[in-house]
Amino acid sequence: MKMKTGEVLLLFGFIGIATTMILAFLWAPSVSIKAFESPAAQRIFYWHVPSAWAAFIAFGVLFVGSAGWIFKRSELMWRLHIAGSEAGLATGLMTVWSGCVWGAAEWGTPWDWTDVRLNTFGLLTLLAIYLVLGRSSQPDGVETRDTFAAFGLYGFVLVPVTYIATRIWSIRHPGPVIGTGEGSSLNADMGLVLLFGTISFTLLIAGHMLTSMRITSFEQRIETLQKRLDGGV
């Protein structure tokens, strides 16, 4: 069977994230044993940061799809909304899970309810859960779409808040190590693995969103065809 663009991206993305995992374990240099409680667990950083990056892409797509649906009533935009919410849920869960694993090893607790970044990102993931489960449990219609699109639109405000959280309120989550304007604290090998992971996660999430949009398109077409057949042709 001929592979579609989305499937090709998925394949390369998946191979890439598996390779990132191997590089993180076997090739990336260790961090200073004095700087971390659990230096080994720090290697989850090569998964955690790219998955958070992919989550922000997904939530950006969710925002564009939600706004597009509300203002243009476009089917393409609704498909973008669905793809963004599903991809946001998956990458959000990956980020939260990997963060909890690291937090448990480094802080001795998987979650800190006083940390702004943890909580705003957790809320974003909960928003994605609500959108995905809500859509699958409600009949499709303009009112339903408007409701979910409004949540997608206003929920996006959490993205910039999450992004700047560690810059403004440094509580427990580590601050940024790249893009700080003061030079990076990562060495070249660490940066390379991180870059490879980021590209891989971007390919994976792009593949997932394209495939998700294709699935929604099929579902809509099948529903139309089924109605036509059931209508006593």
Binding site: M1, R43, M94, V101, T211, S212, F218, I222, Q226
Partner: protein, 58 residues
């Protein structure tokens, strides 16, 4: 040769392995669903063409 805390590395390996398996299952499920729906749509389009050719051309 750097020394690793084996307990920490095992813990991390399990966490990583769990995630890669979860992502693999999710990816496989999405691709299979896409292919299944594609086949179903083709079958329905053929059925509609048989009974209502003008609709299929829309």
């Amino acid at each position: 040769m750097e020394e690793y805390n084996m307990e920490g590395m095992t813990y991390l390996a399990v966490a990583y392995f769990g995630m890669i398996v979860a992502v693999g299952i999710w990816t496989y499920t999405v691709v299979q669903r896409s292919r299944h729906l594609s086949q179903r749509m083709d079958a329905l389009e053929n059925a509609v063409k048989t009974y209502s050719p003008e609709f299929a051309e829309e």
